[in-house]
């Protein structure tokens, strides 16, 4: 189905199932422990051996000699796989760092060997018997050191192509002439996804055919990347990923676990399973790279932005992509004179890659503090300042509009709901016992990409509907919204729908990432259901456009036939994909929101605790309010982590992330999260897709950390521009202890 004109009325508008709060259909298996994750598939293939990954002890250099003799003789060991003996394999173009290295080492804890043994304990023990002589060379580990030398990257495409700053108008002249100016530099640290299920895979070969049970957000991408890696056609690869224990971008692309499992399985002629250990996830896999961002704002005295510049520096391995931290700035606020640019340093740290709202999250961490600072300089309320600079068109291309843009209403409704009017304009005014208390706000903004997505829907002789698509559910609720979509389209109750996901034998869906999953995958199911409805109507010689599907029946021309009767003679299938034409590119399909935060700062110790959070957002039709809300509060929680604690610390001498476990890389725990509220504005975006829905998983995190930072400033009067805002950065500037 080609979607190239605004969606008129369609069966989804009935909203009998879609849009209603619906308990997840995968809830019973998840809460009873019956949902099988990748490493747990004892059921799928017999005789699985255990693989344990050994990572490089140095960040950069070469393996001079690797002695595996003792390890090979250790009890239970079947094989030590290294780059030297692994047989042919390549690096997919979507992996910057090699997933099994040697002799060249590109980063710390890069995989250099897989130990395959009969048991996990034996494999882990044998790993300690491998002796490696390294020739270490000095690497580049300090982002700030390359501030003045890193070249420009990226152009209008956003990532990694043309090398130019993007300009609209004359920023320098307008900034020079502006009566009120801000010029400030912000930094965001390296962050780690730390989804609760570490990367894990089971691989089995049958001749030259490879099957992997893995944990991936993108089944079709995994097939492609495995095809590139193992130099075999995609048809010979099957990827299964029905349950994914979180990803946040870390599982968009294949990682060492699946490549090592497949190499190990090939080497020992048996299925092999590999999980990356928690401490290894930090340096072995990918992360959100650190940024240094300079923002300049020039305003008139009424608070209208006339000049806005956002320049970002990030680092990555040679060939890696930059953090697109300036992307939101290009579209969020008005201003005639604009400059955005990205620079990229080459760093010999682990590979930087996508993490929840890549670019947008760290970019908004900086921009939305800058907006708070400028509001203060202007003596304006920060909500009002943002409203004053709203734009209904793309500031760089004024004839390009947003399909929907309710930023102002998000800010206004949120302010009213949150009690924003009680916020003191000056900081350090409100005290509650030993705590300074303050409020902060930020905007939230993220585009919602249109992506092709396919599905197959079958009407079974029982009258049940079976949906098959390789879409994944990484916690986002895909199973349920897909079931809701099929139920709505086919006019059956939800419990008549079965959803099977995460198998490359199914039609390829958009996958889970970049808040493109929900809207596109359900639209693909919509398209397949349209096909199935046509098949049903044809079978009954009904006019498809006049057939109404409701209560398990199809009705047209005073005929009413149960779906079970239609399929009695054999199942009927509809398969199709949603595809998008030029309309989707003619407008911005965007989502907007506002975050409000109340934070308390301990007057003595500088400890920060977030007390209240509210998010208001407009993100198209909300398919399942309860799981959409969960996405929101989850991102708000992750934003609190980004604001207050998350930082992978680089050892600039040796080139690795030092705090590489969950005790030392702190993420929020229950006690860090108190009251959270979410409001969704009514919106059905007819330009977006037949579901009239957009995504919100990335929107939800943009701005959160800045809202916390702004609340901290309002509470205690200390402005911190370097994340995370830990107490040591507040302590010497806190108000005197009374």
């Amino acid at each position: 189905m080609k979607f190239d004109a605004p969606s008129g009325p369609n069966p989804i508008d009935r909203m009998k199932v879609v849009g209603r709060t619906t308990s997840r259909i995968d809830g019973p298996v998840k809460t009873t422990g019956a949902a099988p994750y990748a490493y747990e598939r004892h059921d799928v293939v017999a005789n699985q051996a255990y693989g344990y990954m050994l990572g490089s002890a140095i960040a950069k250099g070469r393996i001079k000699r690797i002695d595996t003799a003792d390890a090979e003789r250790a009890p239970g060991v079947l094989k030590i796989v290294t780059a030297a003996n692994a047989g042919p394999f390549a690096t997919s173009r979507h992996n910057t760092a090699r997933l099994l290295a040697g002799p060249e080492i590109q980063h710390y804890d890069q995989a250099i060997a897989l130990i395959v043994a009969e048991t996990f304990e034996q494999a882990r023990a044998a790993a300690t018997l491998i002796r490696v002589d390294y020739a270490r060379v000095q690497g580049r580990y300090d982002l700030a050191a390359q501030k003045d030398t890193a070249p420009l990257v990226g152009g209008s495409s956003g990532e990694g192509s043309a090398a130019a700053a993007l300009r609209t108008g004359d920023f320098e002249a307008a900034f020079a002439a502006a009566p009120v100016k801000l010029d400030a530099t912000y930094s965001t640290p390296d962050q780690s996804h730390q989804m609760m299920e570490p990367h894990a895979s089971i691989a089995a070969w049958s001749g030259d055919e490879l099957t992997v049970w893995t944990s991936t957000q993108m089944v079709a991408w995994a097939v492609q990347d495995l095809s590139h890696t193992f130099l075999i056609p995609q048809e010979k690869i099957r990827v299964l990923s029905p349950y994914v224990g979180g990803g946040f971008g870390a599982k968009l692309r294949i990682r060492a676990d699946v490549v090592l499992a497949a190499l190990g399985a090939r080497a020992v002629g048996r299925p092999v399973k590999v999980a990356i250990t928690r401490p290894q996830t930090m340096n072995n896999t990918v992360h959100r790279a650190a940024t240094i961002q300079r923002i300049r704002l020039g305003c008139d005295r009424e608070g209208r932005i006339g000049a806005i510049a956002h320049e970002s520096l990030s680092g990555n391995l040679e060939g890696g992509r930059p953090v697109t931290a300036t992307a939101q700035t290009r579209l969020l606020y008005a201003g005639l004179n604009r400059l955005t640019s990205m620079r990229q340093a080459v760093l010999d740290l682990p590979e930087g890659n996508s993490m929840r709202a890549p670019g947008a999250a760290p970019g908004m961490m900086a921009l939305e503090i800058a907006m708070d600072e400028m509001a203060e300089k202007l003596g304006l309320d920060p909500v009002e300042f943002r409203i004053r600079n709203d734009t209904q068109v793309d500031p760089e291309k004024p004839d390009k509009r947003f399909s929907e843009r309710q930023l102002v209403r998000c800010l206004r409704d949120g302010a009213a709901k949150f009690g924003w009017s009680r916020r003191p304009m000056r900081p350090a005014q409100r005290r509650d016992g030993s705590w300074w208390v303050g409020l902060g706000v930020s905007s939230a903004f993220h585009n919602s990409p249109a992506m092709k997505s396919a599905a197959r829907v079958r009407l079974e002789p029982s009258g049940r509907i079976l949906v098959e698509t390789d879409m994944t559910d990484i916690g986002t609720g895909s199973y349920t919204i897909i079931a809701q979509t099929a139920a709505e389209m086919m006019g059956v109750p939800l419990d008549m729908v079965e959803v099977r996901l995460g198998d490359s034998h199914f039609p390829a869906a958009a996958g889970s990432g970049g808040q493109f999953g929900a809207s596109n995958s359900t639209s693909g199911v919509y398209a397949a259901c349209v096909k199935l409805r046509e098949a049903v109507a044809r079978q009954l010689n009904m006019e498809p456009d006049r057939a109404v599907f409701e209560s398990g029946h199809v009705v047209a021309d005073r005929r009413r036939v149960s779906l079970a009767d239609v399929a009695r003679g054999g199942a009927l299938t509809g398969e199709d994909a949603i595809e998008y034409g030029d309309m989707s590119r003619s407008v911005h399909l965007s989502t907007f929101g506002a975050h409000f935060v109340e934070a308390a700062v301990h007057a003595y110790t500088g400890e920060v605790r977030v007390r209240r959070m509210l998010a208001v957002c407009a993100a198209g039709r909300i398919l399942n309010p309860i799981s959409a809300r969960s996405q929101m509060i989850g991102a708000m929680t992750m934003g609190v982590g980004a604001a207050l604690m998350e930082e992978m610390v680089v050892d600039k001498r040796f080139g690795f992330f030092v705090n590489h476990d969950l005790a030392s890389y702190e993420v929020p725990v229950h006690a860090d999260i108190q009251e959270q509220e979410v409001l969704f504005l009514d919106e059905a975006d007819e330009m977006a897709n037949p579901m009239k829905a957009k995504g919100l998983g990335e929107l939800a995190i943009t701005g959160v950390a800045a809202a916390v930072a702004n609340a901290i400033y309002n509470a205690c009067g200390v402005r911190v521009r370097d994340y995370p805002l830990t107490l040591d950065k507040l302590l010497d500037r806190l108000p005197r202890i009374a």
Partner: protein
Amino acid sequence: MDDDRKLELSRRGLLVGSAAAAAATAVPSAGTQATPLRPNPATMPVSFEVNGTRYDLDLDTRTTLLDALREHLKLTGTKKGCDHGQCGACTVLVNGERINACLSLAVQHSGDAVTTIEGLGTIEQLHPMQAAFIKHDSYQCGYCTPGQICSAVAVLDEIKRGVPSHAQVDIAARPDPSDAELRERMSGNICRCGAYSNIVEAMAEVAGART
């Protein structure tokens, strides 16, 4: 180019004594002191009860309770999130108390009674906490969920038994199932998807504090 020498020099200032510099020339991989190879791993008989069923196993002494459950008994509802006691995904009840199954050797548990998520309830007959988690959408990816639920069940029992927590203003007083108590006591169970608020809602309902 081999920069070892340069690096040694730069490190000499950082490290103490010449042994450090020697270590830097060939940084060993994890624990590479030459150690004699041992013969076959030590195994031992272990007997314990899991979800009411007695198991007699012969296990490598190194096998954790977690791996005994997941790899030997194939009770994979208990999750390995970090294997270092830093996330709580492996929480099970041993003799009625919650512990991290990853930081316990199976051999330590001979004679113990273990309850895992599979023992709390089934799809057909959910435990009230499992039902409340579904109702309040107290999970997303589901990987920490079994640990959260085991912990949640134990927390309500701990509050009932008067086990104190950091959230109490008066440490000598009897605790109640307030939100602050629940949040503090559940802090050993990390949920990266961030379902914390919904987990507290589910627990409060089961505790009878809310519906």
